[in-house]
Amino acid sequence: MTTEPFLRPRPVDPLDVPARLDELRLLKDGWFEGHGSAPTATGIDWLSDRFTRTYPEDLPLPFVYPTPDGGIRLEWSLEPHDITLDIDLAKHTASLHELNLASDEDQEEKLNLDEPAGWGRLIEQIQKATEGSS
């Protein structure tokens, strides 16, 4: 008698970014107390695809939140580093902000997420913060 291999469903990481972005597709304009634009479906498609293809699997995943202007904010808490990436889904640009809670120093820079260098800069920053927080 032969048995078929039992395929177990792969658990989704609680911070799985595409899954969280799918949740945010349900937002409607006015979601923020009557104000606030909903992120566009094309914008979410773009971000979900780029993040999946570009962000290394071995790096910590961010928390994902909508912004009232129709953008998406990614947040990493990597003590003492607090890193946020505010993404403009229409322009494919982002503002990367890093705050060191221990020293109170912070820095901000603009990224073009249509360019590999933009994602590279983000990944470099997360890698550095991960090494520093371990």
Partner: protein
């Protein structure tokens, strides 16, 4: 109110993921007149603030 007073603030459900709140909650918007509105925990409980 003193340095130990809890300050309560309502949060949009979309701004909570896995029990963690976005830091945007602590950034006042033009709608807030750029001032953070909170409930005084000495006068209002967390439940009362949530129900308000």
């Amino acid at each position: 109110m003193n340095s130990g007073t809890l300050l309560h603030r309502q949060v949009n459900p979309s701004w909570v993921q896995q029990g963690r709140v976005t830091s945007q909650v602590f950034k006042p918007t033009p709608k807030d007149n750029h001032r953070l509105s909170v409930y005084d925990g000495d006068q209002v409980t967390a439940l009362q603030a949530w129900l308000h």
